[in-house]
Symmetry: C2
Subunit: 110 residues, 2 copies
């Protein structure tokens, strides 16, 4: 897998997560797979707008469509989030350090 591809898909991933509506869609799909109408019913925006959000999420491979027997459903695919987790790991020591410093500050200790 070339670096450029990885870079690109990482961009798609972070872009997809940038919108609150899309994060909300993911949260809804965490509970259970849902039809597009089902998803749209949870928002004030129109169904085509949700369709567009779903396209972005599919491009980031965060959502996939499954034809479960009779109806087509949107299903959460959380696997790409492991890449966000990996990205975060490079910063973990820093925020740990920050928190420790904050804790020390709050407790009035040096």
């Amino acid at each position: 897998m070339p670096a450029a591809t990885t870079r690109h898909s990482t961009d798609l991933l972070f872009k997809a997560l940038a919108d609150p509506t899309r994060r909300e869609i993911l949260a809804l799909l965490r509970q259970r797979s849902r039809s597009v109408n089902d998803l749209a019913a949870n928002f004030y925006t129109s169904r085509p707008a949700i369709s567009k959000h779903l396209r972005v999420l599919r491009e980031a491979s965060l959502v996939k469509d499954v034809t479960s027997g009779t109806s087509r459903l949107c299903e959460l695919n959380a696997a790409p989030l492991a890449r966000v987790d990996a990205w975060l790991r490079d910063y973990e020591t820093f925020w740990d350090r920050s928190l420790r410093r904050l804790k020390a500050h709050v407790e009035g200790k040096r």
Copy 2:
């Protein structure tokens, strides 16, 4: 801390992370604190563009300015990333499951 505020700052956070240039800035600041010119020298874009990115990062509290003795420097503040980590935790079980399924698939086991 009201939920609305949290929601808002989470939006700022994910928005800030959505741009690859900004993520690159964070990576540079992980090595050491840097002046704005120092940061800008690492990109093909102009310094004002970097200034704008820095504003977004400051609004998300990911970067803070410190006047270290003689010069002002941009410093990484990774603490907000803990919120991304917390957000991810709600999905962890899902991608673990996905990976386990993928692993099983690759190994050709049921």
